[in-house]
Amino acid sequence: MKSGEEVTGRRMRAGDALPPLEIPITRTLIVAGALASRDYQDVHHDAELARQKGSPDIFMNILTTNGLVGRYITDHFGPTAVLRRVAIRLGAPNYPGDTMVLTGRVEEVDADTATVRVVGANGIGKHVTGTVTVTLPMDPACTVASEEPA
């Protein structure tokens, strides 16, 4: 038997880059995300009130960003991946009409757990930077594969 570290090492290695995910920032996404997260702050759905508060338009709420970061990770690692920790910091707001491109890089792998650094950049800067800790349950198929001669 190979150790767990070697098994998961086949699927996640420090330095691995995740394929980028482009997310068009539509007005619909901003409003749907705000309501699905039960966030009724006017700056996330009412452009006029947002402008009165000094913002050029409505902007995405942090809960939606958090959800998109989580989705980015589980889209990549698959439905058996378990999110353990998501820590994000917001920078440039996501306004309607922009596109956010999420990119990620595996920073550290410890047995079945990886820490992934995630950046979501939009047209005006980095909307989000963060780290996600994700666990991949050991996959017996992988163990078999790892025992095959190279």
Binding site: I23, L35, Y40, G67, T74, L83
Partner: protein, 336 residues
Amino acid sequence: MSYEPVVSHEAEAGDEFATRLKGYEGQRAAVARVGKDPVNAPMIRHWCEAMGDTNPAYSGPDAIAPPTMLQAWTMSGLSGHTRGTHAYDELLGLLDEAGYTSVVATDCEQEYPRPLRPGDEITYDSVIESVSERKTTKLGTGYFVTTRMDIRVGPDLAGTHRFRILKYAPRHRADLPGRQDRSQKPSRPRPRPVVNRDNADFWEGVQRHRLLIQRCTGCGTLRHPWLPGCNACGGLGWDTVEASGEGTVYSYVVMHHPPFPAFTASDHAADAAGPYAVGLIELAEGVRMLGNVLGVPYDKVRIGLPVQLEFQDCDEELVLPFWRAHGTREMQEAGA
């Protein structure tokens, strides 16, 4: 209201305010609150639709809720909270009253020790972890407030949620208290000067209402703007001489467009964003520097006009040297 000088009053009030804010650290923001809805499949589905998340783990008989949905289960929605601690509301109210009326979430750190599943009824407690010093950000000046929430299902910890918001006064609206007492001051902050290692002593002098001219210790040549070396001899050594404050307009331009309220505010009682004159002032000592010309309308500035140095506090942090046409000080004060 206070009869003390405005500036020292503000400083004292500021310290007292900061201490008061710090007093909320460690206080409860929510005690044993119950989620408005049990974790449920329809809300999960709506979330997944909005996020475009098709992960099969979030549907079907063994579904879990998306872990990043954690905070959503604690949201009060449109109807607001029915009970909770006063401390958090009081803290936010205090900041509102002080003019820090806007709020933006900046950080969210969550851990998920146990998945949430449809049917789970959550309870949560929250504590005010920290209140920052006053910070100036791109959005405006304000305070970061960090709370930490524990979300439980029965006795089990299901999630922790650390959340940071910035309560701030938007940059373009000078609606801080204290500003009201200083209504003649410009409401639009001027751009900040770029202070670096080469010119830091110049700006430090300005802060103390002293206009310092750099002088080469090698050949004695005066220079402005401040530079690391002497243009005349290449020498790197320097000291300073204080300007007498006398000067004349060597040249000038009038800016008509774009309108720039920050630069006209000190010239126009009405704070109108009209044209303004930028004077190139030749100091009595011989060096020249740029600055606003005060005391005469922009179209009455002329080459050779005698001017005198005048320091003005543009806002709480910024002091700038201005140039006032001779003999206009009394007119200005009578008209104010």
